[in-house]
């Protein structure tokens, strides 16, 4: 069964999308609503631990996601909107699944057995199913000629235990090209943005971001497209180039391409204003 057949999907927004990156959250939900896919928030979800908890306390880094696994209702896939939350949830799930002591502990902690059938998916997995089902064929050419730099950051890289899993490299290009846009070829699409170093060692994050933004500029892209709130924030706040390339969420661009965006306040939250570009491309009024 494809994920697409499941009309009700448990949804884990994560801290960034629930707060600072609300525009990513709203555009994602708006997009899937169009396809009659219901995203239902995991009740009372907690932070997955982010990049920090597992960095200093590995045990706690495994426990925090496990509460969310226990809260997710059975029989529905669990969609993690943020690539980083996805990895934390998946890694916790793998660690518990392969160790009988951890499974016993899980049962003792949450009063229910570990569900080995709980499927944790990314936004990309759902989108790939939609694409395979032909959802993006004959959808008009709203993005015609828009030159974009697909930016995956570290979301394609995974720990060795997950290295044989399906990877969605090229999906942004596949979907956006079918809507008329043109990808550029560039060198930095899988270069990490620096995540938390943006706060604790801004010199390092800025150096990485500078390479990415400079690469996008030189490639001739009109915009960079990302699916990650952390990448989005870092590219915007740590870039020092004049005439910086706007950074759009993949879900924002999809919503615009399908003609039901933008929602109120999506683009006013961007530090690099994408509206002049979008108006010039007749994607918004």
């Amino acid at each position: 069964m494809t994920v697409f057949n499941a009309r009700k999907i448990s949804y884990f927004p994560g801290c960034s999308l629930a707060t600072s990156a609300r525009e990513s959250n709203e555009s994602l939900k708006a997009f899937f609503n169009q396809y009659d896919i219901d995203l239902i928030d995991v009740p009372d979800w907690n932070c997955c631990g982010s990049s920090s908890v597992h960095s200093i306390n590995m045990e706690l880094g495994e426990y925090l996601p496990s509460r969310n696994l226990a809260l997710a209702p059975p029989g529905r896939p669990l969609l993690a909107a943020c690539p980083s939350c996805y990895l934390r949830l998946r890694q916790s799930r793998i660690a518990i699944g392969e160790d009988s002591r951890a499974r016993d502990q899980y049962r003792a902690m949450w009063g229910k057995p570990f569900d080995p059938n709980l499927r944790i998916i990314t936004f990309f997995e759902l989108l790939a199913d939609l694409a395979d089902a032909g959802a993006f064929e004959n959808r008009g050419n709203r993005l015609k000629g828009l030159k974009f730099a697909p930016y995956y950051g570290c979301m394609l890289a995974r720990p060795p235990k997950m290295r044989r899993e399906k990877n969605f490299f090229g999906l942004m290009e596949k979907v956006l090209v079918s809507l008329g846009a043109e990808p550029v070829r560039w060198a930095h699409q899988a270069r990490c943005c620096g995540t938390f170093l943006s706060v604790s060692r801004p010199d390092i994050a800025a150096a990485s971001v500078q390479k990415i933004m400079d690469g996008a500029f030189r490639s001739g892209a009109e915009c960079i497209v990302t699916a990650c709130a952390m990448c989005h924030l870092n590219l915007e706040i740590r870039s020092k180039l004049p005439g910086r390339t706007p950074v759009l969420y993949f879900s924002e661009l999809l919503s615009l391409a399908e003609g039901f965006g933008p929602g109120r306040g999506w683009f006013s939250k961007h530090l690099i204003d994408p509206r002049p570009l979008l108006r010039a491309r007749h994607l918004m009024g």
Partner: protein, 185 residues
């Protein structure tokens, strides 16, 4: 004579790392693909493959004192490059934790301070509250003017919420902290 590196049964410091992280660093043959792929290797004191070598040679002091594990953000680019599938991010997790448990001063105290602020925020609310994390981190640094502009722009664009998003049953989250002995000052 005992070999320095035993593939099947790592002992000494390699054994401790395997115990802590499940990663057998004895498998590494020093091809340096990890270091070639690492986007932040320019800022590390030891390259990722050199950290593995320190572990293989049992040089615990040097390994726990290095900056590399703190600079690593866990992007997993190195793991994708590694021909034997060594989980370098997990090794760095293990080293950081050992450094902390040993009560050693981390080579990058600011990065440790940031991780602690995030962890404490989760203890407080069950979720991260970015504005408070930033403010408390600034208190730690004592440098209020650094990044002042960035903070103001984020506030004006409403990218930093004034109020935290909270878990209702925050007690359940705090019990996980107690279980792992994570104390909050």
């Amino acid at each position: 004579m005992n070999p320095i590196v035993s593939l099947s049964n790592p002992s000494g410091f390699s054994g401790e790392i395997m115990e802590q992280t499940g990663v057998n660093t004895g498998l590494c043959w020093q091809c340096k693909c990890c270091s070639g792929g690492c986007p932040f290797s320019d800022f590390m004191d030891y390259l990722p493959n050199q950290v593995i070598r320190l572990i293989q040679l049992g040089l615990k002091e040097e390994a726990l004192g290095c900056a590399t594990m703190w600079i690593c953000v866990g992007c997993h680019t190195c793991s994708m490059e590694c021909p034997v599938g060594i989980d370098m991010a997990a090794v760095n997790d293990g080293l950081r934790q050992m450094c902390r448990e040993a009560g050693r001063k981390p080579a990058e105290p600011d990065i440790m301070a940031f991780h602690k602020e995030v962890t404490h925020s989760i203890h407080r609310y069950g979720r991260t509250h970015k504005l408070e994390i930033m403010m408390r981190y600034k208190m730690h640094k004592g440098n209020w003017l650094a990044d002042f502009n960035v903070g103001l722009r984020m506030l004006s664009k409403r990218k930093l919420d004034l109020m935290p998003s909270k878990v209702n049953n925050v007690g359940a989250v705090r019990r996980l902290f107690e279980k792992t002995g994570e104390t909050i000052r």
